[in-house]
């Protein structure tokens, strides 16, 4: 026999109270000499003994009643093996029903989705629930959402709850699942607890963690009977796993090349996979991938034209397949009319100066024509104080010797407002001054501390090339398309030795060493790029190779992008940063489903940020600084790790859960039968409570009867 509230068993000591009172009454005997003993004759003595017996009987009844009521409150339960009481109790069961609602459950085999199948299984489970039994219903995803917690079962309400359930766009966080289920079961007061996990048991989730899962379920089975209900379904699925800008400038009237990557998550070769690129929901380009092998990924380039300025919604979309949620990949681009670059030149040399090289590189087009939508304004560094930075999107500082404190602060503010800064080294740079004045703010303006010049050329005076194994930084992507011999033509003879700050990150390094050539750091809503070499030909030959214009144009495109152009994944937080304290205290996020969420603006480390925790839908969110303001679209995509929808086979399921004490049930009939078999505990509290109350009533009636009897005897005597 077990008890739901074992601590309340201490209440059984309460029966000591009437016994104690009885014993105290018995032991607190006063003595007296007595003359008239003849009146305490035999009949009185018999009567006295009767009273003692009566007292003992009443005491026993009272104690028994109290004991039974205490037992009832402790909510005892027993099993069939526990004895004759077992047949009397009620089969009360507390149930935790966990339904996998990750987006793989949207997989449709042509007749219905896995989620529909899951709901049908839950309907079968429902048949075994008694009205009033505690039920917890939880949807499993990246965050397990409790739909109903410990509610008394009502068939109609339960059906309403099931009707309202829908699969999410999230992936399944299986690692937190056992503990979450254990907590939910522990929260439940029932003589026996059952946990049902209705899931498609994706091989990629369950198989790699089989040993850990077995142990976790074994531990979970100690707290409740665990039933795993695996769902059926095919494994065919194609998913767009990537969609990113490869090259091109995001300006009005131009086109950019985006790369869409499609993975075949199924077990058969996918033929003629059609990929469409949409700009603001209009198909702009379509490509067909002839075939994709099982488990393989193929990429296609989509050329997307930008006819208007402003934010545009970009989509790479597959034709229909069994799982629609991962057929779409979204991105956002903010298209500009024109980009203005201020090039500040520190070198006093003329024509072949770095400023001129930078301007030429930025304006260069593949067709040899200059870019009309790009304006480069070059000034000498001494003229910097007279420039209005607000007119420019990007500032390039090339070999600028030093900087005043005021200008360092102005540049810091300029970047934090969402603009870009590109910094080049050179012979004129005064490292100490830059180190000191760029670090006056909380976060240094530059991503690294400048040390001394470092020669990287060999004895022949030939510099080192760039490391071809580059990071997947947007700036580097275009370089990846260059032939290796062309990339290796760029040689660096001299660099500034630098120590990256905590916020700085190396983007390009020299081959054969860790010496960074290009570093980046985020500052506020903007970014800073720092070259440890010169823009001109003094320390390298970069300016005369294709690397230079490609890098600069990608950098300017990247720097002029907005933070929401980066795609997010379902479950990520969406943040909206403010340069200054906003007038409105709340930001507004419109969800893809059309719901409007209001999020308070909070002060994080002197930055004002509105943070939306956990975007739970895939699609385009719209972030607005206030209800009236124009919105910026934010692309949120599903986590395509969930796209491999292949399930564990029956043998694999058995092998994985072998010895874990978990019941695996597939059919509706099996579900009912196994649950009935496992449901051995019976609640006895009602029996004990009834018995306790009966004994209380009996005690009262007995006492009343005895009192009445005494009164009748007295009446007769009178």
């Amino acid at each position: 026999m077990s008890f739901l509230n074992p601590l309340l068993l201490l209440g059984a000591f309460g029966i000591g109270l009437p016994i104690l009172a009885h014993m105290l009454n018995r032991f607190e005997v006063r003595h007296t000499d007595w003359a008239a003993m003849q009146f305490l004759n035999r009949s009185v003595r018999v009567r006295s003994r009767q009273l003692k017996l009566r007292d003992v009987i009443l005491l026993l009844l009272r104690c028994l009643a109290l004991l039974l009521i205490v037992f009832a409150i402790t909510r005892p339960a027993t099993t069939k093996k526990a004895g004759p009481l077992a047949g009397l109790g009620e089969k009360h069961v507390g149930m935790v029903i966990a339904i996998d609602a990750s987006f793989s459950m949207q997989h449709d085999d042509g007749t219905r989705t896995r989620f529909d199948d899951a709901l049908e299984k839950v309907q079968a489970i429902k048949e075994g629930i008694r009205p009033g039994d505690p039920v917890t219903l939880v949807l499993l995803g990246a965050e397990h959402r409790v739909v109903a917690r410990n509610v008394a079962f009502d068939p109609d309400e339960f059906d309403e709850m099931l009707d309202a359930l829908e699969p999410t766009d999230e992936s399944l966080d299986i690692e937190s699942l056992p503990q979450r289920l254990k907590d939910l079961a522990a929260d439940m007061k029932a003589p026996q607890k059952e946990i049902y996990i209705v899931t498609d048991m994706q091989a990629q989730d369950w198989k790699p963690r089989s040993a850990w899962l077995r142990d976790s379920f074994k531990a979970l089975a100690k707290h409740a009977s665990v039933f795993v209900v695996p769902l059926e379904g095919g494994s065919e699925n194609l998913a767009v796993t990537g969609f990113e800008l490869m090259s091109g400038v995001l300006r009005k009237g131009t086109s950019a090349r985006y790369r869409a990557t499609v993975r075949n998550c199924g077990a058969t070769v996918a033929q003629q996979v059609r990929v469409a690129g949409r700009v603001n929901n209009i198909i702009a380009d379509t490509k067909v991938i002839p075939s994709i092998a099982p488990g393989a990924s193929e990429s296609v380039s989509l050329f997307l034209p930008f006819r208007d300025a402003g934010p545009v919604r970009l989509v790479a979309e597959l034709s229909e397949d069994p799982l629609a949620a991962d057929n779409v990949r979204r991105a956002v681009a903010v298209i500009r009319d024109k980009v203005s670059v201020l090039c500040v030149e520190g070198s006093s040399k003329g024509g072949g100066s770095s400023g001129g090289l930078i301007a030429a590189a930025l304006r260069a087009r593949g067709n040899g024509q200059g870019q009309e939508d790009l304006e480069v304004h070059s000034v000498a560094w001494v003229d910097l104080p007279g420039q209005d930075l607000a007119k420019f999107d990007v500032v390039v500082l090339a070999d600028v010797p030093d900087i005043t404190t005021e200008h360092a602060a102005a540049l810091d503010k300029y970047v934090r407002e969402g603009n870009g800064l590109i910094w080049f080294g050179g012979d004129n740079v005064k490292a100490d001054v830059w180190n000191e004045r760029s670090a006056l703010g909380g976060t240094p303006l530059l991503p690294a501390v400048i040390e001394e010049q470092m020669r990287t050329s060999d004895a022949m005076g030939i510099g080192r090339p760039l490391d071809p194994s580059m990071t997947d930084h947007p700036v580097c992507r275009s370089l990846l398309s260059l032939p290796e011999d062309l990339l290796s033509e760029t040689r660096f003879r001299l660099l500034l030795r630098v120590t990256p700050s905590t916020t700085g990150m190396a983007v390009l390094t020299l081959a054969g060493s860790d010496s960074p050539v290009l570093l980046e750091q985020t500052l506020g809503r903007g970014h800073v790029f720092m070259f440890t070499t010169t823009a001109g030909a003094a320390w390298n030959n970069m300016a005369v190779t294709p690397v230079f214009p490609m890098l600069l144009q990608q950098m300017v495109t990247y720097l002029t992008a907005r933070e929401f152009e980066t795609s997010r994944t379902v479950g990520d937080s969406l943040s909206l940063s403010y340069v200054e304290q906003p007038d409105a205290s709340d930001a507004v996020f419109d969800t893809p489903a059309g719901e409007t969420l209001t999020v308070p603006v909070r002060d994080y480390r002197n930055q004002y940020v509105a943070l939306l925790d956990g975007a739970c839908e895939a699609g385009f969110y719209l972030a607005r600084v206030s209800v009236q303001a124009a919105g910026l679209p934010v692309a949120v995509n599903v986590d395509t790790r969930e796209s491999t929808v292949k399930r564990l086979s029956s043998d694999e399921v058995l092998a994985l859960l072998k010895g874990a004490g978990v019941n695996i049930v597939r059919s509706r009939e099996g579900l009912l039968a196994v649950a009935e078999e496992a449901r051995t505990s019976r609640s006895l509290w009602r029996i004990f409570m009834m018995a306790g109350l009966v004994f209380l009533v009996l005690e009262g009636l007995f006492a009343e009867w005895l009192t009445g009897r005494g009164a009748r005897a007295k009446g007769n005597a009178n």
Binding site: W34, A35, A36, F39, V44, S48, A717
Partner: protein, 309 residues
């Protein structure tokens, strides 16, 4: 109202016990009675008829001999020899049961007050008074005398009483009846905790010998009311089997037994022309005596004249 009435509280048994001197107690009690009644409370106790005399105004109507009037058509009053001298014998039960007292005065002490008061009263009327003390046997037998000095001896005898566990009232009454040579006025002071038939047998013996018997049945208020609460163990003073019980729950049975016993005793006394009085020992002695004499006067003038010889 006489002044002494306001001092009646001085006759509270507890106060009398503090006085210690039984003679003083008796005097206090009796003087109070005399002053209060202006006549002897023992008037009419006489037993020996002497002769008739012509009625004169002032004589009590009840003393007119109506049979003589019937024969002679003249009023004559009866004169009794005892009016000039009669023997009063006070019998005190000194058994252990008499030592019970729920208050500060037990039944025996109270009996002593009563005995002393009665003796004093008798002597004040220049009659003779004697004393017998008995328990399981007759411990003291003092033949009646009229000398005032006997009160001192009575006082001494009363003081020297040591209660003994067992009493046999009936047997002792038989023995005392045999000791008494003259018909006397017998006052029995006892709690009479024995079989009613045995008691009546003894009392009948006295009545059979021609004694005028008065029974002052002393009982403690706790014995009358049985007001105990809680759990009590009753230890018999005369070596009865003890009883542990909750008295308030058996009180009805106890009171029923007591009532039955008292009814039987009272009925027996009435049947044997014995004056019977239940005395609650918590009451003032003079009040009890006053009440007793008032009741007796009523009885003597009423239909219960049969109690007189």
């Amino acid at each position: 109202m006489p002044d002494h009435i306001t001092q009646i509280n001085y006759l509270d048994p507890e106060l009398l016990q503090k006085l210690g001197d039984l003679e003083l107690v008796a005097r206090e009690v009796v003087e109070g009675l005399r002053v209060g009644s202006h006549r002897s409370p023992l008037r009419g106790f006489s037993t020996e008829f002497a002769h008739h005399r012509q009625y004169v105004p002032g004589d009590a109507i009840r003393d007119i001999d109506w049979r003589v009037y019937g024969r002679t058509d003249r009023y004559y009053t009866k004169l009794y020899e005892a009016e000039t001298n009669f023997d009063c014998h006070v019998l005190i039960d000194a058994s252990a049961s008499m030592s019970y007292g729920s208050g500060k005065v037990n039944k025996l002490e109270y009996a002593k007050f009563l005995a002393a008061s009665m003796a004093y009263l008798v002597l004040k009327q220049r009659d003779s008074v004697g004393l017998s003390i008995f328990d399981s046997e007759v411990r003291t037998y003092m033949p009646p005398r009229s000398a005032m000095g006997i009160i001192v001896e009575i006082d001494k005898q009363l003081r020297d009483i040591v209660p003994t566990p067992k009493t046999t009232v009936a047997k002792q009454l038989h023995d005392i009846a045999l000791m008494m040579k003259r018909r006397s006025f017998v006052i029995l002071i006892s709690d009479l905790l024995a079989d009613v038939d045995d008691i009546m047998a003894g009392l009948d013996h006295l009545r059979f010998d021609g004694h005028n018997v008065v029974v002052l049945h002393t009982l403690d208020p706790y014995e009358l009311e049985f007001p105990f609460k809680g759990t009590w163990r009753f230890e018999g003073l005369e070596r009865e089997e003890p009883l542990t019980t909750q008295p308030e729950r058996i009180r009805d049975d106890y009171v029923a037994n007591l009532t039955e016993y008292l009814s039987a005793l009272r009925a027996g006394c009435v049947g044997a022309n014995i004056d019977y009085k239940t005395v609650d020992v918590s009451r003032p002695v003079d009040g009890v005596l006053n009440e007793f004499f008032a009741e007796r006067a009523t009885t003597l003038t009423g239909g219960a004249v049969g109690a007189r010889l």
